[in-house]
């Protein structure tokens, strides 16, 4: 999760990429649209979108010959929700496991005392 946040912040450190996010917040767009709007080459825009995609801030989908970009914040939120759902279950499990382990330890100690007698 931490490395994901690093990637997010790195992605947001560039003015063009912040502009792309703003733009995609208004409407989905193709890489060509974005390149035109920001007066960049297709290759340059592809790189920016790639960085945003790596950080999970943008998702892209190729339909026919056009690659459409959309905001990927939802994907990040879903990932966080998935983790927190699983985390809750594991915390509940390990709380119980602690009790089982304490009982087994107590039993071992008691058995040990019996043997020494």
């Amino acid at each position: 999760m931490a490395s994901r946040l690093d990637a997010s912040f790195a992605a947001l450190s560039d003015v063009t990429r912040r502009g792309v996010l703003e733009q995609l917040g208004r409407a989905d767009a193709s890489i060509t649209d974005l390149a035109n709007r920001f007066d960049m080459t297709l290759t340059g825009m592809k790189k920016h979108v790639g960085v945003l995609e790596q950080a999970g801030l943008v998702t892209t989908e190729k339909v026919g010959r056009v690659r459409t970009c959309k905001l990927g914040l939802r994907a990040l939120e879903e990932e966080a929700a998935w983790i927190s759902r699983h985390h809750r279950v594991w915390v509940a499990r390990f709380d119980e496991l602690d009790e089982v382990v304490e009982e087994l330890k107590a039993k071992e100690r008691a058995d040990g005392r019996k043997k020494r007698r």
């Binding site: 990932e79 809750r88 499990r93 390990f94 709380d95 119980e96 496991l97 304490e102 087994l104």
Partner: protein, 163 residues
């Protein structure tokens, strides 16, 4: 977080981490205050295992649990009220440090769970890795009835919005 103050014997709870280390893999870690042989026992004796693997908050009622803990041996947990089951096969059984089992209720090629226990100074670092065959399988990985309930409420919310 919620350190209990009701006695000297209750300790601050150790931290649980859950991390998706790849699209198909989730890794859970937790330090347990006890030796590995005791933790291994809690994984391999049905009456102990079900107590903690299915905490009450999960809302699942167990009908039966059979565990034949040896390589190639099977396990089967059956639930009330409809006989839903979790089952699979033990692939590796190395007391007190390693346990690998398959999860076959979803058909062949289900996720594989690997538990490693590393003892250090009377404590045990428990690492549980679940490897799925696809991202979709892990995305959809269930955590029991507690989650099903949350999802049911979410669906109800959505339904109410359309009325």
């Amino acid at each position: 977080m919620d350190a209990r103050r009701d006695g000297e014997t209750t300790l601050m709870k150790n931290r649980t981490t859950v991390e998706r280390t790849s699209e198909r893999e989730v890794v859970v870690t937790r330090t347990v205050n006890g030796p590995a042989r005791v933790v291994f026992e809690a994984f391999t004796k049905p009456e102990l295992f079900t107590r903690w693997w299915l905490p009450k908050s999960m809302g699942m009622v167990l009908r039966s649990c059979e565990m034949d803990v040896r390589v190639g041996g099977t396990y089967r947990l059956v639930f009330e009220p409809d006989g839903m089951a979790f089952f699979g096969t033990y692939r590796e059984v190395t007391p007190p440090s390693r346990l690998v089992w398959t999860n076959e209720e979803g058909g062949e090629g289900g996720p594989v769970t690997t538990v490693t226990l590393e003892e250090k100074g009377g404590q045990t670092l428990l690492v549980l890795q679940e490897l799925h065959h696809s991202k979709e399988s892990l995305d959809a990985a269930g955590t029991g009835a507690a989650e099903a309930m949350v999802e049911t409420f979410a669906q109800l919310d959505e339904l109410l919005l359309t009325l």
